[in-house]
Structure formats: structure tokens, C-alpha cells
């Protein structure tokens, strides 16, 4: 056990020493704890080892994002979310003015970039929810493009049910989690 600690701490220290090129090296992982290969004796069935090793990404955080330049709460542009019914992706009329305002803003500020994250509630399949969240964010993107934003300004992605704003298992939480968020560069 002591040897294992030594190996791990040594490898972790090595990782610290090479932080100038963090992307070229995978982070330190779990060392193989399984025994080496066993040679079977005559007439015996060997039990093969089952080694497992891992990758650790918890140290991989990017540097803190810069604060957003446009966050005037009095401005309609501070509204960033579009909400949906269960298993639906159509944009309700009440959210169209917000999307129109952002389309205008993007059109008038050609250097701005936006990421749209589609979200779902926790119910049902995680994978279907990835696709549903993508459909939601793509719907917002399509409307922004129709209203004059450029394709290279807007990216649509899905977080599915994986990043709930509300963690409860009830209708109130689900309603708030069925959502597309429009984020400007620096906000994600």
C-alpha cells in the first residue's frame, strides 16, 4: 500500500511539474491494483486478473470566465431563457419578443457570439433528452438566423437533463428545467 501511495504522489507531483502543457498529458489516474498474470498449472483453470485504471479530470477546470459585458436588468436582453412543455420544442409566442431582441442585438454587433444550451426535465431517457434539448436549442438558433443573426455567431448545444437548474423531483422543478438558455461569449 505504501508503495502505491508513493507511486501516486510521485506521479501527481510530476503532473504538477508539467502544468505548462496541461493538454498534452492525461491527468494522473488510478494505478493497477490487480495481480500480474498467473500461469496455470497442469489441469488447472487460471483465474485471470481484472485490472482497472482510471482518468481523473477534476483538476481540469478552465480559468475563471470574464464577466459578461451586457447584463442590464432593465433591458430585455437580460432575459435569456425560453421555456417549453413536456416533450415539446415549439417556441411559445410569449418568448418570441426576447428572441427577436437578441437577434437584433447579434445583427447589430457582428462580433458577438452566442451559445444556446437546450435543457430538459429529468424524466425519461437521458439520451432522448440530449436529442430533445438539441432540438430546443436548434429551434431558437433557427429563429435567430431567420431574424438576421449570422450562422457563425450562434452555436446550439444540448445539456439534456444533465444540468438541471432546479434539482427537485417535482412539477415545479421540471417546469423550470425545460428550457433553452442564450449565453454570450464569456458566460459559459
Amino acid at each position: 500500500m505504501r508503495a502505491l501511495w508513493t507511486i501516486l504522489i510521485a506521479s501527481a507531483l510530476a503532473a504538477c511539474a508539467t502544468t505548462q502543457t496541461p493538454d498534452t498529458q492525461p491527468p494522473a489516474g488510478v494505478e493497477d491494483r490487480a495481480p500480474g498474470a498467473v500461469r496455470p498449472g497442469p489441469g488447472m483453470q487460471p483465474v485471470p486478473p481484472k485490472p482497472v485504471t482510471g482518468v481523473d479530470l477534476t483538476g481540469d477546470k478552465p480559468a475563471a470566465a470574464a464577466p459578461a459585458p451586457h447584463r442590464d436588468l432593465a433591458n430585455i436582453l437580460s432575459q435569456r431563457s425560453v421555456y417549453y412543455d413536456f416533450d415539446k420544442y415549439d417556441i411559445k409566442d410569449e418568448f418570441k419578443p426576447v428572441i427577436e431582441a437578441h437577434a437584433r442585438y447579434l445583427r447589430e454587433n457582428g462580433g458577438l457570439k452566442m451559445l444556446i444550451q437546450g435543457n430538459t426535465d429529468e424524466r425519461g431517457s437521458r439520451e432522448y433528452n440530449i436529442a430533445l434539448g438539441q432540438r430546443r436549442s436548434e429551434g431558437v438558433k433557427r429563429m435567430l438566423l431567420l431574424l438576421g443573426a449570422r450562422e457563425d455567431q450562434v452555436e446550439a448545444v444540448s445539456l439534456g437533463e444533465e444540468k438541471p437548474k432546479e434539482t427537485g423531483h417535482n412539477e415545479e422543478a421540471w417546469t423550470r428545467n425545460r428550457r433553452s438558455d442564450m449565453l454570450y461569449a464569456g458566460e459559459y
Binding site: 485504471t53 479530470l57 439520451e127
Partner: protein, 426 residues
């Protein structure tokens, strides 16, 4: 410094791993085979203080299947072994239908030798036995082999006690992709991340996992060798990359990509080459799953107005609708024998796992939760592992394919989800 701390955390997790995933049986088959697994003579020599004896692990394995009832066996003097003459009348009086006797001996090379024999007490005959050589740290693996042997001889089905499972644990804001033995022992982290990890799937040879990680802020498909701590990107296209499924020969992955707009199904090589688009629908197509013969791809699509399961030839082509009842049928998983289809269905607002007999078209709802998801067949087809929420916490449940036997797998201080049962030939 952060790396050092992270590495130590992972190491700590590995050290304290044993029995992190605990299993509780919450139902059993009506007819269980009463079996006596006698303590193996000399098995105490293999104990290292914390571990269970081989006979105790064999008994626990068999009981967990729901098909066996392990009998209490008192310490017998002299201790019977696989070499003893069996006193069938005595074992019959203990109400045993089956009996396991065996012994452990130290070898000159420092290893051990375990021998056992399985007996049919009613027919008063030996059904066979095996000898294994092992090192001290292979006690559990050896016990699982013995349990597999007993299970196969007495039920006719393949035992899955030597298989492994993968699953994701969420502890606070930390996500861990874990691999453990089918009984929850030997849990080891494959990947630890601050971002979500979903949809692990085992390669058919059990050597690799494909999965979806959000570590770069969006879903990207990776493949990782179980024994090498290095990820390889399989699909990182514009939009979402998700829902990987291995072809039965392990040479291709089916997956869902949104690079061309809506989620559509594609094939790709595990090294990220040879991308080929398979579906061209106006709606959502996702969750591909190969039939065991490799001929078909089952998948979820909302092309008919609600999410339903379809299938198409695995080379692409016209899709045929498979599910018709209800307005939400997703996550198709074909049984290992190709005869059944497990999937997630919505009933009166509750999400439950159903099993469709592909021949008779009969549907049986197997679970009774509100938020069940992610079914995964055991490689012998007799159980389905799935995720559910109990008292606000994510747990795994294993249900027998007839819906009768249920087990619950929980982790301490965390949510467990996204189970994937590994193949037999690991």
C-alpha cells in the same frame, strides 16, 4: 497542486472501494433451489482479515440470483471435502437439494489450489467439479467462477457472477464513471470529472467502454480501454455527440450526432474514422442499439409525432415501427438471445421499464417506479439492470426478466445511475 489532491482523492476512493455499492434483495422467485455450500476445508487460510470466505461469496452470489436459497451449514467434524464420501442422507435431512464441498490447499509456489465438487443430493450423484490455482487476491474471482459453474449446472443458464458492471456515481458536483464486479465489489474509477458522464457501453470483448462525457462543456463520445487510463475521442462534431452502441463484432459504433441539424444516427469506427450517416428524418433519431446478430439497428425516433422505437437494417434503409402503445417509448435494448426488447415506457405519467416479446408482440411492464430509466440486460438475458429514484436518491435496480426477483444497488452518499452490464467473456 490540484492534480495532486485529485489523484489522492481517486486513490482514496480506490482504497475504500470495497462494498461501496451495496446490494439488497427485495424480491425472490417462488421456487428457489435449496443448496448447501459447505465451508471449504482450509479456506480460512485465504482470509486477509476483511474478506469473506469463498463459500460465503458463492452462497451470496447464488442467493442474489433469486434462484437459490442458501442453507445454513454448521461446522462439521471431520470437515467434508470434495474427496470425502458424501453422506447423502444427512444432507437430505438438512433439506438440501444440491451440495457444494471443497477444499483449499497451499502450494509450494506460494499460490493456493481450490477444489470443489457439486452434488445432486436427490439423485445422489456428483455433477462435476473444478480445480483452480489462485493468488490470495483472487479469492473473490475464484468464488464467482464456482458460483457460475453451480448456476449453469443447476439452472441451464450461464452464470453472470464473474461479469462486471459499469455505472456513473454523482457525489455532489463530482461525476465518477465506475467499474465494479457484478456483486458491487472491487469498484474502481475509470473517469472522474466535474461535468456529467452518461451512456457507458461495454465493447463486446469487455475490454473497452464507450461513453459520453461533458468534460468539454458539451456531449462528446469517448472510448477508453479498461486497463489504460487514457481517453480517445470518437466523435466530437458540431452540436451533440452521444448514444454510442457497439456492433456485435466490436468494429463499429452506432451513435447519434446533431452535426447536420437534428439528432440523426451514424456509424463510425471506434478510432473516429469512417463516419457514415444512416438516417435522414425530419425529426429526432437517437439511441441506436444493434440486434445480437448485427442485422438490425433498433432506435428511438419521434418521426411519427411521439417518441417510439423503430428498427432498420444496420446498413441503413427503411425503418419499421416496433412500439405502438402509449406516447413515449424510448431506450430500446434487445435481449442477448434477440427475442425480447426492453425499453422505457410512460404509463400515466410514470416512467417504467417494459419487455416486448418480439415474436408474440406481448408487452410486460417489469418495474413499478416513477422515474425508471436506462435498462441494461445481463449477458445471460435473465436480469435487467436499470436506474431509478428512491426517496430522492438515484439507485440501481436489477429485475429478473419475468419481473419477480428484484435487487437494489446503492452507493453511500451519492446518486448511482447509467448502469451497463458487461459481457460474459471478460
Amino acid at each position: 497542486m490540484r492534480n495532486l489532491l485529485a489523484a489522492i482523492l481517486v486513490l482514496f476512493a480506490a482504497c475504500s472501494a470495497h462494498a461501496q455499492l451495496s446490494i439488497e434483495i427485495t424480491g425472490a422467485g417462488a421456487e428457489r433451489i435449496p443448496i448447501a455450500v459447505a465451508p471449504l476445508a482450509g479456506e480460512g487460510a485465504l482470509l486477509d482479515g476483511s474478506s469473506a470466505t469463498i463459500s460465503a461469496i458463492v452462497r451470496a452470489d447464488l442467493e442474489r440470483s433469486g434462484l437459490f436459497r442458501g442453507l445454513e451449514v454448521p461446522r462439521l467434524v471431520p470437515q467434508p471435502t470434495e474427496a470425502s464420501r458424501v453422506n447423502y442422507a444427512e444432507w437430505r435431512s438438512r433439506l438440501a437439494d444440491a451440495l457444494v464441498l471443497g477444499s483449499v490447499a497451499a502450494r509450494p509456489d506460494g499460490r493456493y489450489e481450490v477444489r470443489f465438487r457439486l452434488y445432486d443430493v436427490l439423485k445422489q450423484s456428483a455433477l462435476g467439479g473444478v480445480a483452480y490455482t489462485l493468488t490470495r487476491d483472487q479469492v473473490r474471482a475464484t468464488a464467482h467462477r464456482i458460483a457460475d459453474y453451480v448456476y449453469e449446472k443447476l439452472t441451464g443458464g450461464k452464470g453472470v457472477f464473474s461479469t462486471r458492471i459499469a455505472y456513473v456515481v454523482k457525489r455532489g458536483e463530482r461525476y465518477e464513471l465506475q467499474v465494479a464486479d457484478a456483486d458491487g465489489a472491487n469498484e474502481q474509477a475509470m473517469l472522474v470529472s466535474d461535468e456529467p458522464i452518461i451512456s457507458p457501453v461495454w465493447s463486446p470483448d469487455g475490454r473497452r467502454l464507450a461513453y459520453v462525457s461533458f468534460q468539454n462543456k458539451k456531449p462528446i463520445v469517448y472510448v477508453q480501454d479498461i486497463e489504460v487510463p487514457k481517453q480517445r475521442v470518437v466523435a466530437n462534431f458540431k452540436g451533440s455527440n452521444s448514444a454510442p452502441a457497439w456492433s456485435p463484432d466490436g468494429r463499429r459504433l452506432a451513435l447519434a450526432l446533431t452535426r447536420d441539424g437534428n439528432s440523426q444516427i451514424y456509424l463510425i469506427d471506434p478510432d473516429g474514422s469512417n463516419l457514415q450517416r444512416l438516417t435522414r428524418s425530419g425529426g429526432i433519431d437517437t439511441e441506436p442499439f444493434f440486434s445480437p446478430d448485427g442485422q438490425w439497428l433498433y432506435f428511438t425516433s419521434d418521426r411519427g409525432g411521439s417518441p417510439q422505437i423503430y428498427r432498420m437494417p444496420s446498413t441503413g434503409g427503411e425503418a419499421q415501427r416496433i412500439t405502438f402503445e402509449g406516447s413515449y417509448n424510448v431506450s430500446p435494448r434487445v435481449s442477448p438471445d434477440g427475442r425480447g426488447l426492453a425499453y422505457l415506457t410512460r404509463n400515466d405519467g410514470r416512467f417504467q421499464v417494459a419487455l416486448l416479446d418480439l415474436t408474440t408482440r406481448q408487452v410486460q411492464v417489469l418495474t413499478d417506479g416513477d422515474l425508471d430509466e436506462s435498462p441494461s440486460f445481463a449477458p445471460n438475458g435473465r436480469q435487467i439492470l436499470l436506474a431509478t429514484i428512491v426517496a430522492g436518491r438515484g439507485v440501481l435496480t436489477a429485475v429478473s426478466a419475468d419481473g419477480r426477483v428484484k435487487q437494489r444497488l446503492t452507493v453511500s452518499a451519492g446518486d448511482v445511475r447509467e448502469p451497463a452490464w458487461g459481457p460474459l467473456n471478460q
